[in-house]
Symmetry: C2
Subunit: 350 residues, 2 copies
C-alpha cells in the first residue's frame, strides 16, 4: 500500500482568544488524528518554541510540524487591511503567503476574521471562474446535522450571479467536506413561494435552476434551523446579520439558563439530574465540531475559525482544511463553474 | 374629573390559530384592564355570538363591545392580496374598513400577516409624509427590555430614506408606546464602525444624523439581543430573515431543553427544582407582553399579532393599539416627518 498523501497546512498559531496555547493543543490533536498531515505553526518562535513540549508536540508529532516565524500579530482593534501594509509580517499574512508560494496547501486562522479574509482574498487570489470568494458559516441545526449559510460577510452588495455562485460553492463544500449527499440548496428569501423575494433573489433562484445543484427553492430565515435545507445562499450583508444575531441569541438563552442552574444548591442538584440530556443537546448543537468558516473560491484552502475556539475547535478547523484538500474542493468548484461558463458560451478565464 | 376618552378598536376575531375563542378571551382581558376601550369584534356572528357569555363578555363588558359580522376569513394558504378582491368580506378587511370609515381608531389582527399588511396599507392608506409603511417587531432582549426591529417584512427593496424613516417611526413608537425615554436608534450594518455597511445603510445613517432622533450609530446582528439599542432599522428583507430565524432558533433551543426535562421521573423532578428560575427567565423573554407588530405609517393604528397568540398576547396587542391611539403616535410621526420635509425645503404633501 502506498503511503497516504501528505497535505501541508499553515496554521496561524497567534490568532484567537486562547492563542497560542489552545492553537498548539489543537495542532497536536489534529496531528494525532490525521497521519497525512504536516503543520506549519506560524508565529513568534520565541513564544511558540517553549510551548511545544508542554502541549505534547514532541516525538513523532514534532517530525510532522515546524515553527515558521512571524514577527507580528493582527490585534482585534487593527483594521483588516493592516496585513497589506503595516503588518505584512503578521502570522496570518505569513501563513497565507506560504499557500501562495506553494509551501502549504491551506491556511487556518482563529484570529481577526476581517484580516484573515483580506489575507486569503488578496494574497491567495480568486479561483478561475469565481466572481467573488465567500465565507460560509456552518450551523448545527435542530435535526443534529449541519446547515451551510453563505455568504456571511465577505461581500456586502451582491448581484444575483454572485448568490448563485455562493450556492454552488456551498453545495460542493457540503457534499465533499461535510459528507452530505446531493445537498438541498436554497436561496434565502422572505417566503417559500417562488414569486417571493427581491429582484436579486428571484434572479439568483432562476440561475440556480440551470446549474448542476439540487436546487430546492426559496428558504426562509427559519430554515437555517429546521434542517429543510443543507445549503442556504444569501448576500453577505444578510448572512452576517443572521450569523451575529444567532450567536448572540443562542448564547443569551443558554447563558440565562446556566445562571438558573447555578442559583443555589437545589438548582445545582437539578443540573446534575438533567446533565446527560443537556450533554446530548449540547452535542447536537456543537459548533466546535465544524471548526470554522471556509472562505470558498480562493486559490488554496482557507478556514477561518471563531476567535473563541478551544483546542477541539482548532482541530476541527484543521480537519476541515485537510478534507477540503483531500477532496479537491477547489478543483470541483473550478470544474463546475467552468462547465457553466462553457454552457453559457463565455470563454472560461484560464 | 372628565370621563376618560374612549378609543374604539376593531378586533379581527377570526384570525389566529386559536381564534375565535382565544381572541374573545383576550378581548375580555383588555376590556377588564382598560376602561377607556370599546371593542368591535369582527367575524362570523353565528360563531361569535354563542361564545360571548362563555368567555365572560357579559354584563358591563358586553356594553363595551359589539359583534360586527364578516362573512369570510383569510386562511393561511390564501394569498395576501385576496382581501382586495375575492375576500372583501373577510374579517380583517371589514375590520380595516371600519378604521378607514372612522368607525374605529385602530385594527388588531392575529390572522394572516400578509393579508393584514395588505388590508392596512391598501384600505387605510399611508400617512402624509410617509414613503412606506413598515412592520416593527418588538423583541424582548437579554436585558429584559424591548428592542424594536423594523422593517420586518413590509418592504423588500428599500432606499436609504426609507430605512431612515423606519428608524424615525420606530423611535416614536418606542418612546410613546413602549415608554422608552430618548430611545437609542441604530441602523443595522455589518460592523459598528461608521464606514462599515452597504451604500444604502451608510446613506441611511447619514440621513439619521440630521433627524430628531437619538442616533447611536451602526448596530450589528448581535445588538438585537444585548440591549445596546432600543430601535434598529433595516430593510424588510433582512428584518424578515432575522425575525424568522430568531423565532425558529429560540423555539428550537427551548423545545429541545423542554424535551430534556420531560425525559423521565428524575428530570421532571429537576424541572420542579429550577421552575422559579425558569419562570423568571421566561418572563424576561416574554414576547406575549408586547403583543404584536405595529404597522407604522398607515392612517389609523394597525397591530398585527402572531398567529399563535393566546388570550394574553391578544390583550397585549389590543393594549398596544390603545396606547398608540392615546399617545397619538401617528400625529407624532406626521409632525416629525413634516418638520423634516420643511427643513429640506420640500413642500409637505397635505
Amino acid at each position: 500500500m502506498d503511503a497516504p498523501a501528505v497535505y501541508q497546512i499553515a496554521l496561524d498559531a497567534m490568532g484567537g482568544d486562547y492563542a497560542p496555547a489552545a492553537i498548539l493543543e489543537g495542532a497536536r490533536l489534529a496531528l494525532e488524528a490525521h497521519p497525512g498531515l504536516f503543520l506549519h505553526l506560524v508565529g513568534d518562535e520565541a513564544r511558540l518554541g517553549p510551548l511545544m513540549g508542554t502541549v505534547g508536540l514532541k516525538g513523532e508529532f514534532a517530525t510532522r510540524c515546524a515553527i515558521v516565524h512571524a514577527a507580528s500579530v493582527v490585534e482585534m482593534d487593527d483594521k483588516a487591511t493592516c496585513i497589506l501594509k503595516e503588518k505584512k509580517d503578521s502570522s496570518i499574512r505569513v501563513a497565507a503567503q506560504m499557500v501562495r508560494e506553494g509551501r502549504a496547501d491551506g491556511v487556518v486562522s482563529m484570529g481577526h476574521t476581517g484580516a484573515a479574509m483580506v489575507a486569503s482574498k488578496m494574497v491567495l487570489g480568486t479561483l478561475s471562474g469565481v466572481d467573488r470568494p465567500c465565507l460560509a458559516a456552518i450551523f448545527p441545526n435542530m435535526s443534529g446535522r449541519p446547515t451551510v449559510l453563505l455568504d456571511v460577510g465577505a461581500n456586502i452588495d451582491c448581484r444575483p450571479e454572485h448568490i448563485a455562485q455562493f450556492a454552488l460553492m456551498g453545495s460542493i463544500y457540503a457534499e465533499e467536506v461535510l459528507g452530505i449527499q446531493n445537498p438541498r440548496v436554497g436561496v434565502l428569501s422572505v417566503g417559500e413561494e417562488e414569486g417571493k423575494g427581491s429582484a436579486t433573489t428571484k434572479e439568483a433562484a432562476q440561475s440556480l435552476k440551470d446549474m448542476n445543484v439540487n436546487f430546492t427553492g426559496n428558504a426562509e430565515g427559519r430554515d437555517i434551523w429546521n434542517g429543510r435545507f443543507d445549503v442556504i445562499a444569501c448576500d453577505g450583508f444578510v448572512g452576517n446579520a443572521l450569523l451575529k444575531s444567532s450567536e448572540a441569541l443562542a448564547e443569551g438563552i443558554i447563558g440565562s439558563l446556566k445562571a438558573v442552574f447555578l442559583e443555589g444548591i437545589l438548582t445545582k442538584f437539578a443540573a446534575m439530574l438533567v446533565r446527560p440530556g443537556l450533554r446530548r443537546f449540547a452535542k447536537k448543537l456543537d459548533y466546535e465540531e465544524y471548526g470554522g468558516a471556509p472562505l470558498l473560491g480562493v486559490k488554496g484552502v482557507s478556514i477561518i475559525g471563531h476567535g473563541r475556539s478551544n483546542a477541539r475547535a482548532v482541530h476541527s478547523a484543521i480537519r476541515a482544511a485537510l478534507v477540503s484538500c483531500e477532496h479537491r474542493v477547489n478543483d470541483h468548484i473550478q470544474e463546475s463553474l467552468g462547465r457553466l461558463l462553457s454552457q453559457s458560451g463565455t470563454n472560461q478565464p484560464s
